[in-house]
């Protein structure tokens, strides 16, 4: 147990020091934090509960718009801010910016949670492919709808408040990194705490055999909704941070970006190994590094390279990196392996 805490402390120190050790990579590191949050939260459905959701992007986009709207709306008329031909220029003072961000992030986390509860009540009765397709529709619909709402900029997009002029050139990057890293730590701690309770076992029971779980007297619907609400809370938070980081929200390309973010969160969790706590973290990191690498070295072919990577993952690491490691070095995961038994199993296969 002690060793575990040393590990966590080391990671924490590394995380806090990272933007100062690699100052040029602050934005990439912040995005990495957001990606990890998305992968971890997707894993609650996709990995632990066995419900492949493509709809988590809904909460991410919602959080993004909410955070920015609150941040602007608290101090200025939102409609005038987003109006394209508007001649007025509004500038946030530093205190307005940070206050707005703080309130905005709370709203960005809470409202998607409520939305997840309501939508979950309606659609979590669906199973398997039906659930996946239904959630796929959620993100697409949200993108189209938000693209028509004038007050949040509609097709024009929404420019989020620029970072105020405090603390020099590096302040913005450091602020957003620390913000996203804090959110990541909170997410990790919360999810780890949840996984250490009976709740995780119930989610696993739903994944393995939902009917049997119900027959055992578990109210599966209730747990499925709660699970989704937990995801939505952190997805919304991540969205809010990402909105501020990118600085410009577009309905389908940035906020409800199901084609990229929505698919990436699934890929990252699968790459790392779904159904594990560390899998999504490792998956997201590896994915991000590969992606940035492809982007630099295979300009114009990056999606082809990414596609090849996905094919390789599916063929050679169907269980993800963690799953592959576990199979290769089971003893390192604390599993006792009887060599004779293992051989017998291999021969049986």
């Amino acid at each position: 147990m002690n060793k575990n805490y040393i590990l966590y402390a080391l990671i924490l120190i590394f995380g806090l020091a990272a933007p100062f050790i690699f100052p040029a990579f602050k934005v990439q590191l912040s995005i990495l934090c957001v990606l990890i949050i998305l992968a971890i939260t997707w894993n609650i459905q996709g990995g632990e509960m066995g419900y492949n959701s493509f709809g988590n992007i809904l909460f991410y986009g919602l959080g993004m718009y909410l955070c920015a709207s609150v941040q602007v709306g608290m101090f200025f008329p939102l409609a005038e801010w987003t109006e394209s031909g508007g001649e007025k220029t509004f500038v946030h003072t530093p205190s307005q910016f940070f206050q707005g961000m703080a309130v905005g992030l709370v709203v960005a986390a809470v409202i998607p949670t409520i939305v997840a509860g309501l939508i979950g009540y309606a659609i979590l009765g669906l199973r398997g492919h039906y659930f996946a397709i239904c959630t796929l529709g959620l993100g697409v619909a949200a993108g189209e709808i938000s693209g028509g709402i004038e007050i949040i900029g509609a097709g024009q997009g929404f420019t989020t408040p620029p970072f105020p002029n405090v603390g020099g050139l590096e302040a913005r990057g450091e602020f957003f990194y620390l913000l996203s890293f804090t959110a990541l730590v909170l997410t990790f701690i919360a999810v780890r705490a949840v996984y250490s309770t009976r709740f995780k076992l119930i989610l696993n029971a739903i994944r393995d055999n939902e009917d049997k779980a119900e027959a055992m007297g578990i109210q599966t619907m209730k747990y499925k909704i709660i699970g989704w609400m937990i995801s939505a809370f952190f997805c919304g938070l991540a969205g809010g941070i990402m909105g501020g980081l990118v600085g410009y929200i577009d309905s389908t390309d940035v906020a409800f970006d199901g084609r990229e973010m929505g698919v990436f969160m699934v890929l990252m969790a699968i790459l790392g190994g779904k159904g594990t706590l560390w899998g999504p973290v490792i998956g997201a990191t590896v994915f991000h590094i590969f992606k940035e690498g492809f982007w630099t070295f295979f300009l114009g072919w990056q999606y082809v390279a990414l596609g090849v990577l996905i094919v390789v993952i599916v063929i050679y690491f169907p269980e993800g990196i963690m799953g592959w490691l576990r199979e290769k070095y089971p003893e390192r995961f604390g599993e006792v392996v009887d060599e004779a038994d293992r051989k017998a199993q291999v021969e049986l296969k």
């Binding site: 575990n4 394209s84 031909g85 097709g155 050139l169 600085g247 577009d250 995961f333």
Partner: protein, 412 residues
Amino acid sequence: MKINKIILSFISAVAILLSTSVVSFAKVVGDKIVLGAAISLTGKYSSNGVHTQNGYNMAVDRINSMGGVKVGGKTYKFEIIYYDDESNPKRAAQLAERLISQDGVEFMLGPYSSGLTKAIAPVTEKYGVPMVEANGASRSLFTKGYKYLFAVLAPANLYLDVAIRTAVELNGGKGVRIAQAFEQDAFSQDVRLGILDAAKETGSEIIIDDKLPKELNDMAATLVKVKQMKPDVLVVSGHTKGALTAIRQIAEMKVDVPMLAMTHCDAAKLSKQHGKNSQYALCASQWHKTLTYKDNFFKDGMTYAADFQKEFGYDPPYQSAESSAALLVFKDAFERANSFDQKKVRDALAATNMQTFYGNIKFAPGGQNVDKPMVLFQVMCDGAGKCENKVVAPLKWASAKLIHPIPKWSER
């Protein structure tokens, strides 16, 4: 707890990877001025992204071969670092950050489209990196108080303003009935706002006001309405795809409308791709090769078009021309500033007042070019089916007379 070891070694691997990646400082190295640009090489804007890149490259080659940039008695050559923004604003903002903080770029060229420029401008502004952009026309770019953003093009709301005014004029000064369909993106929506303003001023009525999705390949619903309601003018804007889709479906459905006004006809190579079907379409353009502006590098529009054709094998759309002009503006500003200090270059850019083959360039405090009007051209075909874009407005440059109303499909 051996798993800890795995995770620890993994983290240290990441750390080593990060720390060994080369952080190069580009800016002005030796005799090179390195500019950064995020360009849409893939995704929905890829064709216009390539037009933009070709325009940039053409100008870089030309300026370098004609002696480069002279600053402080020394001659420098331009070089551009490109990244692919995948037509995605999120990516574009990240790339701007990367160009500036990792590659050390101190001067930027714009991306393609208003949306992407909107995403990049806050970043360049924060770092005080002067950016000359040639493809972000949305008005909202120029009302944010940006100090380091300069656009060589006229703002989007002016694109089709002339078309509406011409229609009203031809209607004996009475208001016209307008049907319009615009893609849901920053640029097209701003063109729409321009039409709304023009309609208000001329007492015209908007009878259809549709929004088109970003992945634009069908607008039949709008066209069915147009057939029913018979407006005087149909306005469509949705980048290259919008122009192609409109012409394809108008021809398929034989929609008769007296005036068809669009954007991006030349970027879509309409007259080549759709031939006679695109005839009579009226298009807003920032530039046309027959305009009579001149400079020392490309001489004039016709020469530019011929050289571009030789180099890239197609007629330059205005997106390429304005992109080339951006480099001319940078060169001029560097030489006047006689320094690579970002602040000084910025001030020199703000004081720009020059003529290029693409048009006059003079920036308003908001950063938009106020010295260059839009032109309208009409696609005109001869008997053999060979189609050409001919300028019809403003009259100063008109090389042909506007054909109005458009003949019905049954009479063509």
